[in-house]
Amino acid sequence: MPEVTSGDGDGGPTEGEDGPDDGVRVDMISGARMEGLTSMEKIRLILDGVREGNIVILEEGLTPDEESKLIEVTMTEISPDEFNGIEIETYPKSSSGNPGLFDRLMGKEDTQKLTVIGPANQIETLHKDENLISTLVSRK
């Protein structure tokens, strides 16, 4: 589970486990790590990281249902001058690979969908195509 540090998300000097305050932390989360989690646990893991100012990279993305819940929960947590949402990028599904119903039900279409999520005010996508996501990350 993610470390929950309290009270230092508002731009005050960050100390301790987040490391020096001039860096940006990147969490790369393996598919195996996500596998045993419920949808809400995954969303918490992502949003707790992002709200601390981290960039979260998922080796395997979320299912469409989880993506929809991620947007919903993100919306409920937005608050002025504190958190204004997320930026999310995934590799596009190949347009030729419209998966069959069975694969959809099994959630198969979503595996291997590398996903990058970060705080909206700190991350900007510079370029994106099928093979490359180029992102500019700035400090708060």
Partner: protein, 230 residues
């Protein structure tokens, strides 16, 4: 091709897939902010019931709550079908109240608006998972359709097995690119639309249906529909 049909006819086709059951069906109008969702929802509501759903505006997030217009009766193949039209706020993964400040708004007002907007988007996402039976996805055809939010939303709609019609809106504008939308979502039917300058009507062009082999499932649905009708 090039044949102008009424909006009514295009929209009615979204409901085709829903006709099997007798209970009222709910059509959600989704798409990015400013695409023309409310304009379209009002058009549908006025055409069919005589009053509007909500205010249209060039200010993003003017529609901050999902607005419902209930009991829109449409006729199809001699049968009357009642649908609910749900106009949603544009889905986004971020809402920054400072954007509203650019529109000559006081901070307090901007903060309130952004809060309403976030509630509206959360609500719209919830509806999409639980409460809509079909989707009209509206895109501004002058904008790049290949955004993360569009891709995610279409993916969510597909995973819910909802019938969807993609509207390439604002084709009256010079920078409009309908093909770009058709290319971005080849698995769905794209219907170009525009509203009149005096805002009294909206027209949609019926294009030939996609026969992409990737679209076995939708084609199957269409085939079923045809049989149903015939």
């Amino acid at each position: 091709m090039g044949l102008l049909t009424s909006l009514k006819d295009s929209i009615t086709r979204v409901t085709d897939g829903l006709f099997a059951s007798a209970e009222p069906k709910r059509i959600g109008i989704y798409g990015p902010p400013n695409a023309g969702k409310t304009t379209l929802a009002n058009r549908i509501a006025r055409d069919w019931t005589g009053d509007a759903v909500g205010p249209e505006s060039h200010i993003p997030h003017e529609t901050r709550r999902a607005r419902r217009k209930e009991g829109v009766t449409i006729e199809r193949d001699g049968k009357e079908v009642t649908i609910d039209i749900v106009d949603t706020p544009g889905v986004a993964t971020k809402v920054d109240y400072e954007e509203f400040l650019d529109h000559d708004m006081e901070k307090e007002d901007a903060v309130r608006r952004s809060r309403e907007a976030t509630e509206g988007v959360a609500e719209a996402m919830h509806w999409l998972r639980e409460d809509v039976d079909g989707v009209i996805y509206v895109l501004d055809s002058t904008e790049d359709p290949f955004t993360q939010v569009n891709t995610m939303l279409i993916g969510i709609i597909e995973s819910q097995e909802l019938p969807v019609l993609i509207l390439a809106n604002k084709i009256d504008k010079e920078e409009s690119d309908i093909q770009r939308i058709a290319n971005a979502f080849p698995q769905h039917e794209t219907i170009p639309c525009r509203r009149s300058k005096d805002r009294t009507w909206t027209k949609c062009t019926r294009k030939s249906r996609s026969t992409s082999p990737n679209n076995a499932r939708s084609n199957q649905r269409r085939r079923r529909r045809r049989t149903h009708r015939g």
